[in-house]
Amino acid sequence: MPEKANEPVKAGQDSLYAKREEIYPREVHGIFASWRVAMVFLTLGLYYILPWIHWGEGRQALLFDLPNRKFNIFMMTLWPQDLIYLSALLIISALGLFLFTSVGGRLWCGYACPQTVWTEVFLWIERKIEGGRPQRMKLSKSPWNFNKVMKKGGKHLVWIVFSLWTGFTFVGYFSPIRELAVDFINWDLGPWETFWIFFYAFATYGNAGWLREQVCIYMCPYARFQSVMFDDNTLIISYDEMRGNPRGARKRGKEKPADKGDCIDCGLCVQACPTGIDIRDGLQYQCIACAACIDACDDVMEKMDYPKGLIRYTTLNEVKGNGLHIFRPRVFIYSAILTGLVIAMAWSLVTRVPVGVDIARDRNILYREAPNGDLENVFTVKIMNQDDKAHSFVITIEGMPGAVLDLDESQTYVESGEIGDTLIRVRAAEDVIKERSTSITLIVTASDDEKLTDEEDTRFIAPADWFQK
């Protein structure tokens, strides 16, 4: 670390061959730090606990069961055919992010992003083992000795164990976690499970331990385009230049010098910043809005007996003295679209019938004469059983009075998550056929649950001369 510890790192501008300057964020205490810790417990708590929860007998509540191509989401089972819901969920999440960003700025980055919360845990481990910012900087500069090896080695060991647990949990969302745990203990994991546990562990260790703010700066797509969602009324973290400048050191407890602003230029806001910027230089895209600088500055302001909020959450308009305007057209539009989408998706999920029907006409024969002299059309009916248990399905016909179905089996048995094929022959006597092409509807219903039903339209074709006879 250079002598000037307060100098911010000019991220993104260092030369190709310049070494990245290590950032040693100072620990801060305050309202926003408490919020962040609470969010770490909430988000990571959910992450590590959720896969262990069961919903019903032996059914993992949240399981993206890739081997069996189905997703358990609490009481629901979604199949590849339901990808539309996943897409809708992604669109809703994206719109939600737009809405929160336009109102609250980068709240996501500061409190909920996996990169932030895992980095927070890694930093906590680092602090517990290596000590506070000055001790960490001293340790990094010191020559390698027993103490340094023990501390650095210990830190990496704890990081690796924590990462492996993270990777294991991640795979547990895709492969039943309780079985995975037994396999893990017996070291009897499949090759790909092993690969992905180590892959995700490596990614966690690398991103939260080593790369840290560089992930936000170089890898995060959201950081690149979040500014388009910003306007003059978006909450940002801002240094009050009017109040703070000119900056300068002063003695504590004395009258404020007449030629100085409130900023005592202690540099704690810079030391606290996990991305190594100086918030006093204005809004920068490296700022993840974690508010560590607010906590650091408020602490100093309190000690100096100055009012808090020299660095604070504010909006450009408020800084200019125009007040806060949370409700504005952009917010209403995002909210309206979001509400509409959420209602549509909820409605669609609640009314979703987990059965699908697809009808394909026999490719070789458009129509043919049945042994009894009737006319016959042949179809293959595909029944998708998306319910989480097996059913037998009954097929009926509507739309052509007098037409009958001839089936090999009276019911079609389809396992949960499977697609069942059955061949059906639709027969109609000469006097029943009124047109060359008659619209018919095939209805598929589970024999044990009449709510499980779907229908599909198709056509009964007759030769041109048949019905004119």
Binding site: S15, L16, R20, R69, L211, Y218
Partner: protein
């Protein structure tokens, strides 16, 4: 681009590894949304290769392919004046 504004090495590495990772993930999901591994590789699936193996191998293959594509993009983005150096 002046020498001072040179792109950091980590940004170059990320620009190759990361977009290829994201796009191959999306491509893998879309592909196996439409086709099940048993449909695409019936013989391999019948011989007991697990779906997990199909997904993983497909993802890694796609990642390698898109990674090469990203590498080539970076290569061709080098200022032409440097070819004479």
């Amino acid at each position: 681009m002046s020498e001072k504004e040179e792109i950091p090495k980590i940004q170059r590495v990320v620009a190759v590894l990361w977009p290829s990772f994201l796009t191959s993930g999306v491509a893998m999901i879309l592909f196996y949304w439409i086709f099940s591994p048993g449909e695409v590789f019936p013989e391999l699936a019948a011989s007991g290769v697990s779906n997990m193996a199909f997904y993983s191998a497909t993802f890694l293959f796609l990642w390698l392919t898109t990674l090469i594509s990203c590498l080539l993009s970076c290569y061709f983005l080098r200022p032409c004046s440097r070819c004479n150096d």
